[in-house]
């Protein structure tokens, strides 16, 4: 466990509250749009898509936190990873619920046929299944129970899940692939940082910036909690 000074506790609390507000804002906005008619002529379709898109965005945000820490020494960002990840899972659950409950109104024969027959739904459902164990084992107790080493291996499932998420989006588009291409590009860049040898991102940055940035980066490293994969 980390010991906080009083000012760092304040910053921690602020950062937590800020994360909740930022991650929760898209949902509030969707609800406002839904009840004000802002989702257009086919609100169920729009809601389902928007929720899925936000799930994917937050998944990518979650994946960007450890490269950000590596590059800029933002441990504060890394400490938000669990909450961001859980919010991503929350939006993806709502996305799935919107499809099952609103779009298909629990018409199980169609839903089951969709999951089996429609490749983009199969892929999307696969991504959801991969995320379930990650959400379940997100607590400290689970980290201890699994041992950190195994927990870390398990949580690498987030990479195939994000990949399947982007593929799911790409496959459902009719002609305009701009947005899925952007998501795929960001995901590729984020996964690419994982392949860089240890220290290279930090080195690259310290070469680019004058001493200050590099020093912050170096100083912050010992503060890292485990889980900076």
């Amino acid at each position: 466990m980390i010991r906080f000074t009083s000012s760092s506790i304040d910053r921690e609390v602020l950062a937590r509250v800020g994360t909740v507000l930022l991650c929760g804002a898209p949902l509030v906005w969707q609800v406002v749009l839904l009840f004000s008619g802002g989702l257009g002529a086919n609100p169920i379709e729009a809601l389902t898509r928007n929720l899925g898109e936000w799930g994917l965005i937050l998944l990518l945000v979650g994946l960007s936190l450890s490269p950000l820490r590596r590059a800029f020494g933002w441990t504060m960002a890394l400490r938000r990873r669990r909450m961001v990840g859980l919010f991503a899972f929350f939006y993806i659950c709502l996305h799935l619920l919107s499809y099952v409950g609103l779009d298909q109104f629990f018409h199980w024969p169609t839903i089951w046929a969709d999951i089996i027959k429609r490749i983009y739904i199969t892929v999307g459902f696969g991504a959801f299944l991969l995320l379930v164990p990650l959400a379940v084992t997100s607590t400290h107790r689970w980290v201890k129970r699994l041992t950190y080493r195994r927990w870390k291996v398990l949580h690498r499932l987030v990479y195939p899940a994000a990949l399947l998420g982007v593929v799911h989006y790409w496959l459902m588009v009719k002609a305009d692939i701009t947005e899925p291409v952007i998501f795929a590009g960001i995901l590729a860049a984020l996964l690419g940082t994982r392949l860089l040898p240890k220290g290279s991102l930090e080195h690259w940055l310290s070469n680019r910036t004058t001493g200050a940035g590099a020093r912050v980066s170096r100083r912050s490293r010992p503060l890292n909690r485990p889980g900076s994969a």
Binding site: A41, I44, E45, F105, A175, D176
Partner: protein, 326 residues
């Protein structure tokens, strides 16, 4: 031609709307109160009252469209609100998002319009917008519109049977298919400045499909000239086929010998066939076509064979394997 193919399952028109009521509605629309209504609708569409009125005034058929008598098969289903039909569109010439056509079609100035009928015809024609339409042929028809994306609407179109137009060009016996093309104006249509589809947008019908009395050339909807986002100034409406077959802003009709290439088929042949008849038994590879969401409804409804026009059009396809010719 007045079409009287009454589906015995449907109620007669006089059982649906009392004559006094709909006559009253006409008077209401054409009277001074109509101006107020037009302003309100215009405001809902995000148009300023000035531009809504200017667009209506610029169209020489505005009055004829407003006064067109009802025709076509009787349909006793709730009409989709006009605001939905003009704000939720697939018209890739203005962008791929459903809201793009309404948002991005403000710079499109359809008139003057030049329309060509050529190919396997005795008398090729080049027509202006007003020559295209014989005003006395205009009628208002309430049709279901079923999109391939499994949503649907019910829209009152004003237009005339395409067969009238084709007859004027005197098709040769060698004509087997009809090819349609949308206007190309990248300066006014931002989507055409992208490679979303291979422009111009192209569609096609078999000649007997094109000559079917239900096949409509529409110049208006909801008693007004077609808005830009719905395919101004003239579009095709084929109510028993998926919506993308109903090509918008048509400038050219060619009668041809061979089955013509069509845009969505060119983009993805596995998903979009030449025929694309509404068929709940033949799924789109990525989703089921068995049910649809009527815009405005919460629950989905069952999709009908040929979109409910089975009695009228099934004979066109007798003996054909509709799974193969999807």
């Amino acid at each position: 031609m007045l079409i009287k193919i009454r589906n015995p399952r449907h109620p007669r028109e006089n059982a649906v709307t009392p004559k006094a009521l709909y006559l009253n509605r006409r008077r209401f629309l054409t009277g001074t109160a109509g101006v107020a209504l037009g302003v309100t609708l215009g405001a809902r569409l995000g148009l300023t009252p000035g531009t809504a009125r200017a667009a209506a005034l610029a169209n020489p058929l505005a009055d004829a469209i407003a006064q067109a008598p009802k025709g076509g098969p009787v349909l006793s289903e709730e009409v989709t609100p006009k605001g939905d039909a003009t704000s939720y569109n697939n018209f890739y010439e203005f962008g791929a998002d459903k809201g793009d056509p309404e948002r991005n079609s403000g710079d499109f100035h359809p008139l003057p319009w030049t329309f060509t009928i050529d190919g396997e015809v005795e008398k090729p024609l080049t027509l202006g917008f007003e020559d295209l339409v014989s005003v006395d042929a205009l009628e208002e028809r309430l049709y279901r519109l079923r999109c391939v994306e499994a949503w649907s609407m019910v829209i009152p179109w004003t237009g005339f049977s395409l067969s009238r137009l084709i007859d004027r060009a005197k098709p040769l016996s060698s004509a087997k298919y009809v090819a349609f093309e949308t206007v190309v104006r990248p300066g006014e249509m931002p989507g055409q400045r992208t490679g979303l589809l291979d422009w111009p947008y192209r569609e096609g019908l078999r000649l007997d499909e094109a000559m079917h009395p239900l096949t409509l050339m529409a110049v208006g909807m909801y008693g007004e000239p077609l808005p830009n986002q719905n395919g101004a100034p003239v579009r095709l409406v084929v109510p028993w086929k998926y919506g993308f077959k109903s090509i918008k802003s048509v400038v050219r009709i060619s009668l041809v010998k061979e089955q013509p290439p069509t845009s969505w088929n060119m983009a993805n042949a596995r998903e979009y066939g030449f025929y694309s008849n509404v068929n709940p038994q033949v799924d789109h590879p990525r989703w089921s076509q068995a049910r649809e969401r009527r815009i405005g409804d919460f629950l989905r409804r069952d999709t009908m064979m040929f979109n409910g026009y089975e009695d009228e059009v099934a004979s066109l396809y007798s003996g054909m394997d509709l799974r193969k010719f999807y």
